[in-house]
């Protein structure tokens, strides 16, 4: 991915220089190798700190909602999964396509710093990505890990390397490839449990929620100007896990609000400070939508309607839920 970084640094410089774009949305380096943060670059010189590595997981498409409100055009780097979110934002007219210039960038799978820590990398000073391995240089010695073991959960079920929308591509043919897993396996497992078991599973997970709202704020399709949870009159506690009901309710409603719009980018789970598998809620909706109303992938195209904004007269009856068998 270092090659891609050099490519996009150069190309961004050219596009800024010739006036095609006025600013660049990318990632800037931080204190460590693993903490680049999204940033807007306005000068060619500032591009020296543009980075793209295995920790550039933060998706950029949502930043375009604000960035395209400004004068001029913005260059944005989108990984394949980010192009789905971008398409969906176009569909909902949240982003003005005319004001964007999309460079689709190749991705060799994003890494999870928490997984590296759990695997035993303590006191990480720097990291080297070497093909199928990740080497962590730590205060307590060097450690090598298989890249696959350190991949973010969302990358394990990668939707593929194809960019759904772009103006130009910056890809490399030597990007690391990995075997993906079926994203619905865990959902199916949960469906196979009894209601009591399922309830305790979710209680165990959701009881860790600290109501930081990171899942909502990082979500590319949670783009309401004012969220229902931020309305003090809505009778919900936006910032307190005041009761187990509030935890359940927030997560059901959050997932429901993005049902049919969620492209399964996995940002919600990635950003959760308590590592709650929120994607399992979204994937349940996706799985049901696929089963009830036909295969649908949000963000595959920028046109058309989403499953919950249309209907068919012959749709399945809601009783399908209890006819489906199981406990």
């Amino acid at each position: 991915m270092r090659r891609i970084r050099d490519m996009i640094r150069g190309r961004a410089g050219e596009l800024l220089r010739d006036g095609t774009v006025n600013r660049v949305l990318g990632w800037t380096n931080g204190e460590f190798y693993y903490d680049p943060n999204p940033a807007i670059f306005e000068t060619e010189k500032s591009l020296d700190s543009l980075v793209y590595n295995g920790f550039s997981a933060a998706m950029l498409s949502k930043y375009l909602i604000e960035a395209t409100k400004k004068e001029g055009r913005v260059l944005v780097f989108l990984k394949p999964c980010d192009t789905y979110s971008f398409n969906h934002l176009l569909k909902e007219h949240k982003v003005n396509r005319e004001k964007t210039y999309v460079i689709g960038i190749g991705c060799g799978g994003m890494l999870d710093i928490e997984k590296l820590r759990t695997l035993g990398a303590k006191g990480i000073e720097s990291i080297d990505e070497e093909g199928e391995n990740v080497v962590a240089h730590t205060l307590y010695g060097d450690k090598t890990f298989a890249r696959r073991d350190a991949l973010l959960e969302k990358c394990l079920s990668c939707k593929g390397k194809e960019h759904k929308v772009y103006d130009e591509l910056a890809v490399a043919d030597d990007l690391w490839e990995w075997e993906t897993v079926n994203r619905f396996t865990k959902v199916g497992e949960l469906e196979g449990m009894g209601p009591g078991e399922r309830f305790s599973f979710w209680r165990g997970e959701l009881s860790r929620c600290i109501r930081c709202n990171a899942c909502r704020n990082a979500c590319p399709v949670c783009s309401c100007l004012k969220c229902v949870f931020d309305n003090p009159r809505s009778g919900v506690q936006a910032k307190a896990n005041a009761d187990s009901f509030e935890e359940n309710m927030f997560h059901i409603i959050r997932a429901f609000h993005v049902a049919g719009r969620c492209s399964d980018c996995g940002e919600c789970s990635r950003v959760c400070p308590q590592n709650i598998p929120l994607h399992l809620l979204n994937r349940k909706f996706i799985k049901d939508i696929n089963a009830f109303y036909g295969e649908y992938q949000a963000g595959a195209v920028a046109e058309g309607k989403s499953p919950l904004t249309e209907y068919a007269t012959g749709d399945v009856e809601p009783s399908i839920v209890y006819e489906r068998g199981g406990a």
Partner: protein
């Protein structure tokens, strides 16, 4: 006087402590380690350097009921809701979290005293835990905290197969007495091991990447200069406005008071609030910090300028590194100090 206990007897120590008071310590819940109540089958994780949330919860919980109102006919009765004041122990608190209580004390124990907080402080005994292997995102040393020998009512060190106990206050000594039979006296040989442990820990702290964060320029006289810095815009543009940094922070102390209509009465409770939220300090006329730049700036100005200005120059950050580890987009106080503190960002 330093006491000693074999590490495999630690379960007995927990049992002893928990026999007449509640014991909280780092517990694993599906891979995430947080302070939780000790039970004989709790998955205790003393090997974890940092819990996701801090020990702040036990003194200033995320939500707590204050008062309830109930109406019967034309009468409104006011029912005080206050947790029973019972002694408890928080075990395994790192040096950074111990210091954070000092920072919270200065807010909640000054006039008017917060009686909810005060009761918990009086009932709580803190057993701190010396850090043997600090991590790269730790920077407590910047705030003068000695992670190798933290404060607290009593301090433990785990060295090899032994646990060393060092009571520092009356509360700590009282706890020591109740578990006295389990301990043996530490010998001169042990003192050497402890000395070596502390020195090694300090040596590692001395070469942590964030150890040189420069706070010199953050002083009251620089308030306007920092406030008006053009860098805030740049630093805040990645911020998604969630409350992660605030809620994992051991020193954030803002709260909101809300009423909940239970259908047959009103439950008034307070809950943590975050200056990152759009409805923070919302008033009848609206919100005085309308943009994320202003909200973002508020958080760091408070920690680095406003708080020290009112509290003898003590910063409202303890360098625990939780926000560094948990921010969804990796923006944090270390980056802010680097950018505004006059030292260029190291690559």
């Amino acid at each position: 006087m330093m006491l000693k206990l074999s590490k495999d007897k630690i379960g007995e120590l927990f049992q002893k402590i928990a026999s007449d008071r509640t014991l909280y310590l780092p517990v694993d819940n599906n891979g995430q380690v947080n302070f939780g109540r000790w039970t004989p089958d709790a998955a205790v994780r003393l090997d974890q350097l940092k819990t996701v949330k801090s020990s702040k919860d036990f003194f200033f919980p995320q939500t707590e009921n204050i008062v309830a109102f109930k109406r019967q006919g034309k009468d409104i009765s006011i029912i005080e809701k206050r947790d029973a004041n019972e002694p408890f122990v928080v075990f395994g608190v790192r040096g950074c979290d111990v210091r954070s209580l000092d920072i919270l004390d200065r807010v909640f124990l000054c006039d008017p005293v917060d009686s909810f907080y005060k009761a918990r402080r009086e009932n709580g005994t803190i057993v701190s835990f010396a850090c043997s292997e600090p991590e790269e995102n730790c920077f407590c040393g910047v705030f003068g905290i000695d992670a190798a020998d933290p404060l607290g009512d009593a301090t433990i060190r785990v060295i090899g197969g032994d646990l060393y106990w060092d009571a520092k206050t009356d509360k700590g000594r009282a706890l020591e007495e109740s578990a006295g039979a389990l301990f043996t006296q530490a010998t001169a040989l042990d003192s050497d091991a402890i000395k070596e442990h502390d020195e090694r820990s300090r040596e590692i702290s001395g070469r942590l990447p964030l150890k040189d964060l420069d706070l010199d320029s953050f002083e009251e006289s620089a308030l306007l200069e920092k406030f008006n810095s053009p860098l805030w815009k740049e630093l805040s543009q990645a911020c998604v406005g969630c409350g992660t940094c605030t809620y994992v922070c051991p020193t954030c102390q803002c709260y909101d008071i809300q009423d909940f209509d239970t259908g047959h009465g009103i439950q008034r409770f307070r809950c943590w609030d975050s200056c990152m939220y759009s409805d923070f300090t919302l008033m009848a006329h609206g919100n005085n910090r309308k943009s994320q730049v202003e909200r973002f700036r508020q958080r760091f100005m408070h920690k680095l300028i406003y708080y020290p200005a009112n509290n003898d120059g003590i910063f409202s950050c303890v360098g625990c590194g939780r926000c560094v580890a948990k921010c969804p987009i990796s923006m944090n106080i270390a980056k802010v100090i680097r950018a505004l503190g006059g030292v260029s960002v190291s690559v």
